[in-house]
C-alpha cells in the first residue's frame, strides 16, 4: 500500500537576483566590529567597560577644557592628552580586541565566515579598521571637545579658530598613530586564543612588560642605548615618533638624531603585526 513519494514546491526558491559584492561584506563586518567594540547591540554589561573608559577620557578632556576656558592655557595639550591616557588606552584595547577577534575563534564561526565571499584579507582589514576607528574615536572625540573650547574662547576670531584647527589636525594624526600601533599589537595577541580573559591578560602583560625595559635602557652607560631606549615599548615608540616629527627635544624622551629610526620601526611594527595577522587567518581560511 505505497504511493510514489512526491515533494511539493511550496515556494522555497533560490535567490537569483543581484548580490552585493566583497565590498559590502567588508563594510558589514566593519560596522559590526565598530558597534561590538562599544557594546552597541549587546547587553548592558558589555557596554560598561568601553563606555566607562571613554567616559573617563572625556571627563578629563572636559576638565582640561574647563581649565583652558578659565585660565587661557591648557592643562595638557592635544599630544599630552594621548600620552597621559596611555594606561586607559591599554585597558580599552585589552577589552575590545578580544571581543572582536577571540569571540569568533571561541564560538567556531570562522568556517562559516570564510565559506562566504570573504577573503582572509577582508576579514583582517575589517577588524583592524574597526578597532582603529574605535581607538581613534576614544582619543579623537575628547580632542575635539578641547578644540571646541579652544575655538569658542579664542580672542582672535576666525584666525584663532584656524590656529586651533591647525593644532587639532596633527593631534588627530597623533591619535591615529596611537590607534594603529595599539590595534596591530593587540589584535595579533587576541587572535592567538579563543579565551577573552587570556587575550586581555596577554595584551596587558605585553604592554606592561615593555615599559621598564625602556627605563633600564635609558640608564645604561651607552649613548646609543639612551637614544634607542624608546624602541622597546610601544608607548615610548610613539613618543619617539612624536618627538621626531615635531622636532622638539623637551618632551621627555631623549632620542638624539635617531628620530627616523623610530619612524621606521613604527612602520615596520604595524606592517609586521598586520602581516602576521593575515598569515594567521590565511591558515584558518584554508580549513
Amino acid at each position: 500500500m505505497s504511493e510514489a513519494g512526491v515533494i511539493h514546491d511550496i515556494g522555497y526558491q533560490r535567490y537569483q537576483g543581484p548580490r552585493l559584492g566583497r565590498g559590502a561584506v567588508l563594510g558589514a563586518l566593519y560596522t559590526h566590529g565598530l558597534r561590538a567594540a562599544f557594546g552597541l547591540g549587546r547587553s548592558a554589561k558589555s557596554k560598561i567597560f568601553p563606555w566607562g573608559v571613554a567616559g573617563i577620557v572625556l571627563l578629563i578632556a572636559v576638565i582640561n577644557a574647563g581649565v583652558r576656558s578659565q585660565t587661557g592655557t591648557w592643562l595638557f595639550d592635544y599630544y599630552q592628552l594621548d600620552n597621559t591616557m596611555s594606561w586607559l588606552v591599554i585597558f580599552f584595547v585589552a577589552i575590545v580586541a578580544p571581543e572582536l577577534v577571540s569571540r569568533d575563534i571561541r564560538s567556531g564561526v570562522l568556517p562559516l565566515y570564510f565559506s562566504r565571499p570573504l577573503r582572509a584579507a577582508d576579514y583582517v582589514i575589517a577588524k583592524v579598521a574597526a578597532l582603529v576607528t574605535a581607538v581613534w574615536l576614544l582619543l579623537g572625540v575628547p580632542q575635539f571637545v578641547m578644540f571646541l573650547t579652544g575655538a569658542f574662547t579664542t580672542k582672535t576670531g576666525m584666525k584663532g579658530v584656524w590656529h586651533e584647527l591647525g593644532l587639532l589636525i596633527p593631534g588627530w594624526g597623533y591619535s591615529l598613530l596611537w590607534a594603529l600601533i595599539f590595534t596591530s599589537i593587540s589584535l595579533l595577541i587576541a587572535s592567538l586564543t579563543g579565551k577573552r580573559a587570556f587575550a586581555a591578560g596577554g595584551i596587558v602583560a605585553v604592554f606592561l612588560m615593555t615599559a621598564p625595559v625602556v627605563g633600564v635602557l635609558s640608564v645604561l652607560p651607552s649613548d646609543t642605548a639612551h637614544h634607542l631606549a624608546g624602541l622597546a615599548s610601544p608607548i615610548a615608540l610613539i613618543n619617539g615618533v612624536e618627538i621626531w616629527l615635531r622636532n622638539r627635544t623637551d618632551l621627555g624622551l631623549d632620542i638624539g638624531d635617531l628620530g627616523p629610526i623610530y619612524g621606521i620601526e613604527a612602520f615596520c611594527l604595524i606592517a609586521a603585526c598586520l602581516l602576521l595577522l593575515l598569515a594567521r587567518y590565511r591558515k584558518v581560511a584554508s580549513l
Binding site: 567597560f49 594606561w87 586607559l88 591599554i90 585597558f91 585589552a94 577589552i95 580573559a197 587570556f198 586581555a200 591578560g201 596577554g202 596587558v204 602583560a205 606592561l208 612588560m209 615599559a211 621598564p212 625595559v213 627605563g215 633600564v216 640608564v219 645604561l220 652607560p221 651607552s222
Partner: protein, 236 residues
C-alpha cells in the same frame, strides 16, 4: 585534599598556558643582568626594574593568571562539579587550591625577584624582596580566588584592580593605596631591607594587617561562597 591539589596542579601545568608564566620572570632577571653587567648604578635602574617590573607587573600578573586559573577555569567549563559532588569540606577544597595558586605564584615571582635583588644590592635585599613577594602572592591569590567565585569574568576584574586601582589611581589618589596589595609588598620589603629603591607609602602595621585581612578574609569568604555554589543548568 591532596587529590584536589593534584588535579589543580595538573590542570595548571598540563596546558600550554603555563608557558605564559615564563616570559615575565625571564625578562626581569635578564634586565637585571644587563644592568649589572654594564655596571650601572643600581639607584638608577633598581626602582624601574624591581618595582616597576617586578612588584608592579610580574607579581600581580602572575598571581592573576594562576589565581584565576585554579578555580575560574573549572567554574567556567563546569568541571568543578566533579569536585563539589564529594563529601569534602569546602574549606579543604579552597585551601588546597589556594596552596597551589599561592605556591606557584610565589615561586614564579619570588625567585626572579630574589635574583634581581641580589644583582641590585645584596643578598639581604634579595631576601627582603622574596619574602615580601611570598606575602603578596598569598594575598593576591586569595583575592583572585575569591573573584573567581564572585563573578563570571574574574580576569577582567582582576585587571581592573591591577591596572586601574593599583596602577592609575594608586599613583594619583593617595587614599586608594590603603587597599593596594602592591603597596603592602613594597612597604614590607622596605622594612626588612630599607633602601631608596622602594618608595613605601603605607604604614607598616597597616600593610601587615591589611595583607592578613586580604589573605584570611578572602579565603573565608571564598569558602563560604563555595558552600553556596549554585548551578542552574544550561540557562545559567
Amino acid at each position: 585534599m591532596s587529590t584536589v591539589a593534584y588535579i589543580t596542579a595538573r590542570g595548571l601545568f598540563g596546558r600550554r598556558r603555563v608557558l605564559l608564566l615564563l616570559p615575565l620572570p625571564i625578562l626581569l632577571v635578564g634586565l637585571a643582568l644587563i644592568c649589572r653587567s654594564y655596571n650601572v648604578d643600581p639607584n638608577q635602574w633598581g626602582q624601574a626594574v624591581v618595582v616597576g617590573l617586578g612588584l608592579a607587573v610580574v607579581l600581580p600578573v602572575t598571581s592573576l593568571i594562576v589565581g584565576t586559573g585554579v578555580l575560574g577555569s573549572e567554574v567556567d567549563d563546569g568541571t568543578i562539579i566533579h569536585i563539589l559532588t564529594k563529601p569534602l569540606p569546602r574549606r579543604d577544597i579552597i585551601l588546597a587550591k589556594l596552596l597551589v595558586a599561592a605556591g606557584v605564584s610565589a615561586v614564579v615571582a619570588a625567585v626572579p625577584l630574589f635574583v634581581a635583588g641580589i644583582l641590585a644590592d645584596n643578598v639581604h635585599f634579595g631576601l627582603a624582596l622574596a619574602i615580601a613577594a611570598v606575602i603578596g602572592a598569598v594575598a593576591y591569590s586569595a583575592l583572585f580566588l575569591l573573584l573567581s567565585l564572585l563573578t563570571r569574568r574574574p580576569v577582567l576584574l582582576g585587571l581592573v584592580y591591577i591596572l586601574v586601582w593599583e596602577g592609575l589611581l594608586g599613583r594619583f589618589v593617595s587614599g586608594t593605596r590603603v587597599l593596594s596589595i602592591e603597596q603592602y609588598v613594597i612597604t614590607i620589603a622596605d622594612k626588612i631591607a630599607p633602601t631608596d629603591m622602594l618608595p613605601g607609602k603605607v604604614n607598616l602595621t597597616v600593610a601587615i594587617v591589611m595583607s592578613a585581612i586580604f589573605a584570611i578574609g578572602g579565603t573565608i569568604y571564598a569558602i563560604n561562597r563555595l558552600g553556596s555554589f549554585s548551578m542552574a543548568g544550561e540557562t545559567s
